[in-house]
Symmetry: C2
Subunit: 232 residues, 2 copies
């Protein structure tokens, strides 16, 4: 352990500014639904909550507003944006298109065993989580799989956009996680996708992933329509 720090794995973790802490903490609270969608929070309250002054809170709010998670309403504080079915429709459209592009591009790069096994590890983890009937773990692995897919495609901006909209969708996915049927069929798609990527068949990779995402979107929208939505 280094002399200066006792927490992270990085040998010389910089002190991390208050603004960065505020961003990380608020983001986590939003996407995990700890701050309920539709709720308002005054800057002073958030400042007190996180033990800092209004300045870093404001800066964090601006960042999170840019990421579509909150809205700064002049006299009502920071409003946690709700996610309506129409929003999910928008988000999934974009994710479908961009992740499919990632799959296409990745297949064209002819990735090596390192990259492919990274993807396959996440798939195995999903299977394992399913076997243990641990949906949270499954969801995390699913997330990681999609994140890896996009990262390996090598377009940093693509990564950024996909992360932004995945974050927005995250809360809705949490809500439907236990409403949906067992997501075992999903892994068949994943395996076929990785096989197509390994074979360098870019068109197939794109088609498989697009179909996968469209299925996911339809299921999500159906669940939301059936169960309603707590958002305001």
């Amino acid at each position: 352990m280094t002399a200066a720090s006792a927490d992270a794995a990085a040998p010389d973790a910089k002190p991390l500014s208050q603004t960065q802490r505020a961003i990380a903490l608020l983001r986590e609270m939003v996407i995990s639904n700890k701050l309920p969608p539709g709720s308002n929070h005054l800057e002073i309250e958030l400042a007190a909550l996180l033990g800092m002054s209004r300045t870093p809170i404001r800066e964090a709010a601006i960042v999170l507003e840019g990421q579509g998670l909150v809205e700064v309403k002049p006299r009502h504080g920071v409003r946690i944006l709700p996610i309506a079915p129409a929003d999910m429709e928008e988000i999934y459209s974009i994710l479908t298109e961009l992740e499919s592009l990632a799959a296409y591009n990745l297949a064209n790069t002819r990735p090596g065993d390192v990259e492919l096994s990274e993807l396959r590890q996440h798939i195995d983890e999903m299977d394992s989580a399913l076997a243990a009937d641990d949906r949270h773990r499954w969801a995390r692995a699913d997330d990681e799989f999609h994140r890896s897919l996009v990262r390996l495609a090598g377009n940093r901006r693509l990564e950024t956009v996909v992360t932004t909209y995945s974050d927005q969708a995250h809360r809705a996915r949490l809500l439907t996680l236990f409403m949906r049927p067992t997501p075992s069929a999903s892994n068949d798609d994943h395996r076929r996708l990785v096989d197509a990527i390994a074979a360098g068949d870019a068109e197939a990779a794109r088609a498989i992933h697009r179909a996968h995402r469209i299925d996911a979107k339809n299921m999500m929208l159906k669940l939301i329509a059936a169960h309603g939505f707590s958002s305001v």
Copy 2:
């Protein structure tokens, strides 16, 4: 004219906060290359330049950083991000995909004459600008055409992302505007695209637009490769 205001078209234009002014002014200066790519600007200098304190400058810098136009470097002020060929590659990939999606979706909505004529007006304006050999006017109309296309598709988030990356690409387009051949063939693509949309042929609309964007990207990259890039 209203009693309170003497400038805008809106009857009751709110005073517009300093932060909002800073965002608008800095964004314009960045995407028009008035602030050279790669240059650094201390918060105090920008504050003096725009006649305000550091606070709104900081907030604006955060917003523009989120839009990929600048980078806040702790001791060196705000750095205007340069655009390298690799960045253009990333940006055009994303724009190609998302605008093609917009074309696809718009075609599926079976837009009425109002929408279609909006698109066609921009095409006519491009023709007119070309006839007058006014490339700046052409570029503006081309921009408007693409912006309309995406807006009419009706996905607000899609609009946001496309605007973000169009802004990033804007400076490079300015640089190559006078290097490229006369962009008259481009309008053939636009007309075929609108026809496909009018006919409700979503697949054709997507294919036409994708090809259009890929052509544009290849030309841009070739120009940049040939001419080099002033970016640092």
